[in-house]
Amino acid sequence: MNGLVESRNLTKQFGEGHEAVVAVNDVNMSINQGELLVIMGESGSGKTTLISILGCILQPTSGSLIIDGSEVDYESQDLSEIRRKKVGFVFQLFNLIPYLTALENVMVAMDIGGIKGPEAEEKARELLTQVGLPDRLNHRPSQLSGGEQQRVSFARALANDPLIVFADEPTANLDSRNSASIMELIQSLCRERNIAFAVVTHDAHLRENADRIIEMEDGRVLDA
């Protein structure tokens, strides 16, 4: 394996003793640059926990993680810096900040990443135009449809030019028409920007167009 993101014997256990739950069990996998990876599995199979570890939100109980050629040092490294510079996230519940406009929601991520002022605004406009919202820049989340809110989420995930975007069931709260358009957006962003996407989804359309599909069951990857 020699990918953009590599995991070696990743295990995540919650609790101890009789109450211990192994959410991710000895996972070895890699994700390559520009790859569209679909992660599938039953509810509770460990998909979200796995992308949380791969995206440096969660710390594994054991095993190692290599991102962009460097092994993550959980003892001394600031994980927020990796999330800021190398990773983007899209959530099932959109998670936009309610009092900010679409443009500002994208600019917040840039502010965190150190891009400020007119440069940030210009880039945010470009990203929102790219995700198909050039005329919704100054609308707040409550004034946007679910599909539009998820597009803003994608623009926010791309704000700091990540190497990989992790998306956790991005269409779970959308109707079929919006789901299809979001899936098309993921494919086009993946191809146009050469960014890797790891998407947890049950969507058949994306499954058909994915570069690779992995299946999870009881914390294990069945087919990597």
Partner: protein
């Protein structure tokens, strides 16, 4: 993006406004408590300072031995026994000794009993307003200026006989609400107001009533021998401290002798600092209340938006970024509340019926302390908020 914290505050404006108002009210109370104490201190000093100004060269205040002065304990003293002191070195030759009565009284005014301070003295001596203080002809720089109307007539103090009725006249402060020509009743005797002073009040706003020594002796002391204080004017070039020590050693009767500065300290200790300890304690409690408000509001607000914080952390925000974001809100809320409280405190001093003195330096000090301690409280709450698990962005709870 600098405006995130402002937009967040605007989104939660009702809570922010209430918090700002709470901080403002607390700062207002803290400053007004301090201002009231400052006003009391000013009033505590005012009378003694006027007498010191009258003397010009310093004074020594004599009272019964062990009384700690007539401002601290019970003092009765026969001024005639002390006449020998006029020959002591360091005692002014022109006005060596001035008998004085300074006592709390309860005159009846228009059928109502009121609290007042009776100040009885000889007009040719030290202790109260003289002709020089009359508004019509007097000198505005004289110590008891202004007195409208007249000063009371003097008794025949030196050669007093039972047939000599003391003049039933007083100069009352305008806080008593009496007009010139009206009367007040003291120990069953009617005394006519012939003049009025302005803002001559003691520590707790007790208005002063100035009268002749004999008038006070016949009304509140019911004797013709004793006073409670004898003032000794210090001769030019002599030290009041030294003279007080000399008097203690050479007096024919044992006395307590204090300088004007010492009397001010005694009054401050007995009438302001000691009784106001509880007020100082309350001020500290108010500061605690301010911190608690900030900590609770910050904590509750940040717990409410823990998902937003979790999302910010998930997309790369460091703990420092989150703490800084929250801290900016805390400092903005606290500073706004503090500025509002300070402005209200200064406005209150203009409209208050009692004397409240809020100094700029004290307002600045209170503002800085409040901002610092509230910011620290907010910092503690913000650090708790920054500990939010970014996994909340996935789970939604």
């Amino acid at each position: 993006m600098r405006s995130v914290f402002i937009k967040d505050m605007a989104y939660r404006k009702a809570r922010i406004v209430l918090t700002v108002i709470s901080i403002a009210v607390l700062v207002l109370l803290i400053l007004l408590m301090g201002g009231t104490m400052n006003g009391m201190r000013k009033k505590a000093r005012a009378y003694v300072q006027s007498v010191e100004q009258q003397a010009g060269t310093g004074t020594v205040w004599l009272s019964s031995e062990g009384s700690g002065s007539s401002f601290a304990g019970f003092s009765l003293i026969n001024s005639e026994y002390l006449e020998v002191l006029r020959r002591l070195e360091g005692v002014d030759r022109e006005i060596p000794l001035s008998p004085l009565i300074f006592a709390l009284a309860r005159p009846v005014i228009k059928g109502q009993e009121k609290k007042a301070i009776v100040v009885a003295y000889r007009q040719d001596k030290l202790g109260g307003p003289s002709e020089r203080d009359l508004e019509s002809t007097g000198d505005p720089s004289s110590p008891f200026y202004p007195v409208t109307g007249n000063v009371f007539r003097s008794s025949k103090y030196e050669d007093y006989r039972p047939t000599d009725i003391p003049p039933p006249e007083v100069v009352a402060d305008e806080w008593l609400g009496l007009e010139i020509g009206e009367t007040l009743e003291l120990s069953g005797k009617e005394l006519r107001v012939v003049g009025k002073t302005r803002n001559r009040v003691f520590v707790l706003d007790e208005p002063m009533i100035f009268m002749d020594i004999r008038t006070a002796q016949s009304t509140i002391l019911d004797n013709i021998i004793y006073v409670n204080t004898v003032l000794v004017k210090v001769a030019e070039g002599y030290s009041a401290v030294q003279l007080a020590n000399d008097i203690k050693q050479n007096s024919p009767v044992a006395v307590d002798a204090h300088t004007g500065d010492q009397i001010v300290k005694i009054i401050l200790a007995n009438y302001v600092d000691e009784p106001m300890k509880i007020v100082q304690f309350l001020r500290v409690l108010l500061w605690f209340a301010a911190v608690l408000i900030i900590v609770m509001i910050t904590y509750v607000t940040t717990m409410e938006k823990s998902r937003e914080i979790g999302v910010l952390k998930a997309i790369g925000a460091s703990n420092k970024y989150v703490v800084y974001l929250i801290l900016k809100q805390v400092v903005t809320m606290t500073s706004t509340g503090v500025v509002l409280g300070v402005i209200l405190a200064f406005l209150a001093t203009w409209f208050s019926p009692i004397i409240i003195i809020v100094s700029v330096s004290e307002a600045i000090l209170v503002a800085i302390i409040t901002i610092v301690i509230c910011s620290y409280g907010g910092y503690v709450a913000a650090n708790r908020a920054a500990a939010v698990d970014p996994m909340i962005a996935f789970r939604g709870r």
